[in-house]
Subunit: 501 residues, 2 copies
């Protein structure tokens, strides 16, 4: 993958701050310029939201967080950056001036993206010296979770710029989508504008209130569109006869008088009052911060659900997440491989740090039983990666399978609680590894649960146990030897219900 | 909840068949009338899809499936039904005639819903003798998964009818949404029509192809709309200042020339060819059946993810699913309570039947380790319900907590595989239950995994173990006594890595 080395964010509101969060959590240093007096506070709040969301989103090893620096000028912020993202207010003259200033001070090969939701890039790049590297990268709120960036070039933008921008977004978990032609409002906001106009008429005419309209969306086509778009959904509706059949069947509706789109609703005081009052009735019981948290947890859950899609390969935004994680794991693996400092084997290995996500708890907010085993399993996987049992090894037809597990519950983990897991190797031979994992409360260090597990090395092509190769055993041996010096943990060798002592 | 006792489906295509599946899987008998020669095949295929989806959707106890009867006439089909759903082709004269015939033969108090996606109910009920019980119940494909039914009354529809229809849909997992006024295409199809028109222009003008347009939707606002609608999303975008601020900020865009909605695109041969070709390029590598399966798995995953939303209370369609499951559990419980035939305690209890869902497997299609423990946990829960530890008992502050678990893996479960779990009580006293659960391949009966577990009765208010009350122990005792006559299962009392024999 093609990585961004250093990013600059010009403008640090909700959008600019969330771009910064994407970069920082992707391990990229960010220089921020925003003269607004509240900029630091806003960026800090957005970053806190993003960190909370990422802690639930993935258990892949996030890189060390990038460094955030607030700068006193555009010139200072763009120095050394190879991706500069402009997110200043939506006025063509303001944006053009800021982008021209960015262009003046930036490295001539740095990519310059604008977060504009509607202005054509040709308008924005007009006065630049190096306009070929300027484009629109239009994201969607919350930028740190929603993967889309619409990539739109202007008359002077080079095709290489758009391809490079797309490639550089992938390692931070984003999906760059390149439009063929520039147009005001691009594709997403065109579609949103259409539905927004129609929605305003429905409220204006009292066909329904805002809550009912929202319910109509989220209990039906909203769920379809989280995973397939308009055309793929309609293709299915057409049945085996496909898209042509669908168009033949439903095309004629276009000329029916089913829409008021030919009129523009007058957004006068009366309509504003009506919408505001209905929206208060619908959502006013919760503050914006609470709604944001709920939204982020939902989006995380949707992406995780879609990661299991298409037979486990990942579908849509879940595929983007799976690819992002693969990238994180490979970076984590590369770091392990390159590490010159030997890991400390004189203590149980701390292999997993995580938080109890919303999807992990029961209605009382307690972590459910099988999620403990999920954390134990992730810890086993981390041990295996450490000794060289990585994705390629498994793809080649060998792996370790768990054959036996003994769990003790010693405490309770709750929603949002930070946890870490430590692992001690108890014994091994050429086929087997027996080890003991403890899940700790990250604040107190207290043990919440322990697992004693036995893994067997298998040749998965023939489905039989087999001896692990020497390069794996050579990595395992020094860990096992060091851990043999540690006391045998309490609970090892227990059967269920055995008396203590 | 208000239950439908018997349903009739008039028209059995994709929509009518999926209504039938909703009813049947909700335990309601369905009489179907559709003279189309392929009706039985189509309904059978839709029902198979629905059963597959439900097996992944919930582990709550589905009621015994209703009986499906194909009838020779409308008169025969509607006899005895208290909900009649009309789903014949979208022509006003045809629908009106069918609905008038339904009205003639149906019980005068039976509710009559039409699946029309656009015709006003006043048009449809014109010739009825009992029009006050006729309404539109407009569902969304796939009807067996998407919860929404837009409920729309005509001039002669009574308010009681709409309220009753909404109440009767809840026990089959649907969300009835009542519109204030009738209007052609109602709310959902109005919004869809708007976005469809704009989408056609974007393809016509070569701004993007169908795949790009779909990606723009599904990587951004599609995910937002799976859980919050248009207005709640924009309320968040407005920040603490709320909806009024958002309208002030973005209202002016309405008058910008950002849309071609004032024109109607000519869906001529050239445009049809273009869309069909782009759609083939986008989705043609997969057949419609495969796309349907992927869609259904994704929707199931989204609903399950949203069930964990709002701190575990469930959000949007996840809340609908949670309520549906609560209803299923309560019915399951009621049945147990009312059962005159004592369950057979002379064998291990078969307490869970399930299938390996897409969310449960790794990239190789194997069920992941912690999902075995999820099935074991569900089996424990089923035992607890059987002895009276139900939702109300737990709410009142008492429960059993698992303290120790020993798992053995004996085989592998794969995506889509049917499983069942049996449980044998090994020992109990006033505080503890020790038991042994086996997960079986449902086809061969082979044991795939076993768990020996120990549960402790706790007073969750003080967080300490406590003696279970006598009414619980009285129900547990006969099971434990009968199971004490069974041989001790292989594997009981093992510690990890212990030699066999």
């Amino acid at each position: 993958m093609t990585n961004i080395r250093q990013a600059a964010c010009i403008g640090g509101g909700v959008i600019g701050g969330a771009w910064a969060a994407r970069f920082l959590l992707g391990g990229i240093d960010v220089s921020m310029y925003d003269p607004h007096p509240d900029a630091k506070r806003i960026v800090g709040e957005v970053l806190a939201n993003a960190e909370r969301a990422y802690s639930m989103l993935t258990m892949a090893p996030l890189p060390p967080k990038g460094r955030l620096t607030f700068c006193a000028s555009v010139e200072e912020a763009v120095a050394g950056a190879d991706w500069i993202q402009e997110s200043v207010p939506e006025r063509v003259d303001l944006k053009r001036n800021v982008l021209t200033e960015i262009d003046r001070y930036a490295d001539p090969t740095a990519l310059i993206g604008s977060s504009t939701s509607g202005i054509m890039p040709t308008e924005l790049q007009r006065d630049m010296k190096h306009p070929e590297r300027m484009f629109v990268a239009h994201p969607y709120n919350p930028v740190y979770l929603l993967p889309l960036a619409e990539l739109v070039g202007g008359e002077k933008t080079s095709a290489e710029t758009l391809a490079l921008a797309k490639a550089r977004l992938a390692p931070i978990g984003m999906k760059g989508v390149i439009l063929k032609k520039e147009i005001e409002a691009f594709v997403g906001d065109r579609l949103l504008e259409a539905i927004w106009r129609e929605g305003l008429w429905l409220i204006h005419d009292d066909i329904c209130d805002t809550e009912t309209l929202d319910d109509v969306i989220r209990y039906s086509f909203g769920m379809r569109w989280a995973q397939m778009g308009l055309f793929e959904t309609y293709r299915i509706a057409g049945g085996e006869a496909g898209m042509r059949h669908f168009l033949a069947q439903f095309g004629p509706c276009l000329s029916w008088p089913w829409t008021k789109l030919t009129d523009v609703v007058d957004l006068d005081d009366a309509l504003v009052d009506k919408i505001a009052a209905q929206s208060d009735a619908q959502s006013g019981a919760r503050g914006i911060r609470e709604l944001e948290r709920i939204r982020d947890e939902n989006l995380v859950g949707i992406m995780q659900a879609l990661k299991a899609g298409d037979g486990g390969k990942g579908w849509g935004s879940g595929k983007v997440l799976a690819d992002f994680e693969k990238h994180l794991w490979s970076k984590g693996g590369a770091k392990d491989g390159k590490a010159k400092v030997a890991p400390d084997f004189s203590q149980p290995l701390r292999l997993v740090d995580t938080k109890v996500s919303a999807a992990w708890v029961d209605y009382n907010g307690h972590m459910t039983e099988h999620r403990y085993l999920q954390v134990f399993g992730d810890t086993s996987d981390a041990l295996l990666r450490l000794i060289g049992v990585d994705f390629a090894y498994v793809e080649a037809g060998n792996s370790y399978y768990t054959v036996e597990t003994h769990i003790r519950h010693l405490g309770e983990a709750r929603l949002g609680q930070a946890l870490y897991a430590t692992l001690q190797v108890l014994a091994f031979d050429e086929k087997r590894i027996r080890y003991f994992t403890t899940i700790h409360d990250a604040e107190t260090g207290d043990a919440l649960a322990t697992a004693e597990q036995l893994m067997l090395h298998v040749d998965s092509k023939v489905g039989k146990s087999s001896a692990a190769p020497s390069n794996i055993l050579t990595r395992l041996a020094p860990i096992a030897e060091a851990h043999a010096m540690l006391p045998v943990p309490d609970g090892v060798g227990r059967s269920v219900g055995q008396k203590n002592g």
